[in-house]
């Protein structure tokens, strides 16, 4: 039935724009018997905010993990600034300027705001091996001010900050680390309306600045339309829709998801077809816990 299914949905083929910073072509990834990604084609333009949508288990997180070097694809190619890109580790991806921000992993609770911002890039009193805390505080304050994050005190442990502030600092750390492609995995999860708005504001400001390009996994279509330039919807391991947000609507996005759900249900009841690829992520090894 694989052919029938493929025909029933639209698959976005490789697309590109002259100012692409990242291009993904025909990426596939299996975890044992389950297929997480079948044929994913994606591109990200410079300074663009791309919203990545999809139901739970559609393959969003797998895609993000491949992009940031945490996992490797089985087949397909990626291009970073036009050059082949095949990171073997998170460090290698980071060196190439791609960094993912995971809400749960990002921050060290017991460390201060500025130590978090400078983790692994500490300033030292060279040639002595001592931390230049004053310098880091000053630079951290300047960096936070620059992207408009208002943290009253940067010498407190981040454990004492709100969810929104923490997420903002995690994003700031990534921006501060000279990453030019940032992957945000559900940045608004478990966040109040006001805090969520702060993060979307931050994304908007970064977009206005034009230095970084962002791929953001979101669940709320209103947020997507508000903060993103373009939206890609991943469904059943393929990109089923790729449109500028100006040309789509909450209704269209909702319809696509509902139709997909109905078709999956009909297949389940109509005949004993193979399990949909969608279950892949749940059963995959997921050491990051995200």
């Amino acid at each position: 039935m694989a052919d029938g299914r493929a025909a029933a949905e639209s698959i976005v083929g490789p697309v590109s724009a002259p100012d692409d910073v990242l291009r993904v072509e025909h990426i596939a990834k299996r975890f044992g018997p389950v297929t997480a990604l079948r044929d994913v084609n994606l591109h990200l333009r410079k300074g663009e905010v791309l919203g990545l949508l999809g139901d739970n288990g559609a393959g969003k997180s797998t895609l993000i993990k491949i992009l940031c070097g945490f996992q490797r694809q089985d087949s397909g190619e990626m291009f970073l600034h036009g050059k082949p890109y095949a990171p073997k580790s998170v460090d290698e991806a980071r060196a190439g300027g791609i960094e993912a921000v995971y809400q749960d992993l990002a921050l060290i609770d017991e460390l201060s705001v500025y130590h978090n911002l400078f983790l692994r890039r500490e300033r030292l009193h060279r040639p002595l091996p001592f931390l230049a805390n004053r310098e880091m505080k000053r630079e951290a304050r300047a960096a936070l001010d620059e992207i408009g994050i208002n943290i009253p005190r940067i010498d407190v442990a981040v454990a004492r900050l709100s969810g929104g502030q923490r997420q903002a600092i995690a994003v700031a750390r990534t921006v501060n680390s000279d990453a030019d492609i940032i992957l945000l995995d559900e940045p608004l999860a478990a966040m109040g309306a006001k805090e969520g708005a702060q993060i979307l504001d931050l994304v908007t400001r970064l977009k206005a600045e034009g230095r970084v390009s962002i791929i953001m996994i979101l669940h709320n279509y209103v947020h997507v339309l508000e903060a993103c330039d373009r939206v890609s919807m991943i469904q059943d391991g393929v990109i089923a829709l790729d449109k500028p947000t100006a040309e789509t609507s909450v209704e269209e996005l909702t319809d696509i998801v509902v139709n997909e759900y109905r078709r999956a249900r009909m297949q389940e009841h109509g005949e004993l077809s193979p399990a949909p690829a969608g279950d892949a992520e749940g059963s995959s090894a997921d050491p990051s816990g995200s």
Binding site: V90, D91, R94, Y102, D104, L105, A106, L107, I108, D109, E110, L111, S112, H115, L119, R120, E122, L124, P129, F130, L131, N133, K137, R138, R141, A142, D145, G148, N150, P152, R153, D155, A157, S288, G289
Partner: protein
Amino acid sequence: MAQAAGNPGASGTSTTPPAGGPAHARRRASLPARSALLERVLSLREGSIIVVTLLVAVYFSLSTSTFLTSSSFKTLLPFFAPFAILGAGEVFVMILGEIDLSIGATYLLAPFIYYKLATAGVAPVLSVLMALACCMVVGAINGFFTAVVGISSFVTTLGMLFTLEGLTLIISHNEPVGMPDAQVTTTMVKVTHVINGAHIVLTEAVNHVSTFAKVLGEGTYSELVWAVLIVIAGQVLLTFTRWGLYTVAIGSNKLGAGEAGVKVKAVMIRNFVLCSTAGGFVGILEAVRASAVEPDVAGANEILFKAISAAVIGGTLLAGGSGTVVGALIGALFLGILDDGLILKGVNADYQIFYVGLAILLAMTINIYVQRVRKGSHG
């Protein structure tokens, strides 16, 4: 948090900078007048145990006539200096969220390695260094099994505890030994005195202890000096270097620290090495101080518990992520004052352990209460 210790005055005030403005330009307003000395002390992580220790010291000063004397201070030293060093090492492992149960066994083994080497003709200082190198290997093995193989440090170091204690019994043949180069020798010296213009020659007994032994534990203040030096060095390492920062980071969020690029396994192994080395070093100090050492396995385990107690009483969390080396010193001081004070009060030896146990429970209760007050003062 460790760095808060270096910046006690920073708490209590909070300035909200105007958005977008250069915030650092606005210096923090001077501390309000209500911030008295007590509050400053309390704003330290070790603040509460400092208060509790002072209370205990005041109690013994008032209830005994001998506690506040210099000779009493000298008898106090061996009760606390060794545990300050052991606690300092243990703090580095405990901040990681791990524990080293083998520190007492390392403490026991190291002087026997020293003895074997020194009696085989190796120079004393070199023997000490080689014994410490063995302790570092012990720490590296602890770290390897914990960080790389992934066995819980409780189990890893428990295994190491029995292994090392067994090894000590084997190589010592379960016999005490005198420490080479740490023996007191007495010689008779003729000393000429001038009394009322007349020269009188008298024979006097003079005790000799090698400089080596004086430095490594036998001198009255040797252990205290080592303890203070090691605690200061340890606290600087913890608060002002990347090593310390990464230690706190791993204890607080191991996965996140790894994600950020911290070499988690390397830091963990290093901290276990540090802890074992501290254990071995104190073992040698104590053996030299006593000029002899016996393979006392039960005593070694008591040493272990006191070292961990010193760290925990000093504010280091068993769960990791937080702790200070200075706190371990104060925790050790608290335990030492308790031991010494109870002896001075003439408490029966059987009752003493009983009272120490109760006192630890009481002190930790007060400690937690004071901590709550402290947190409250932060607002």
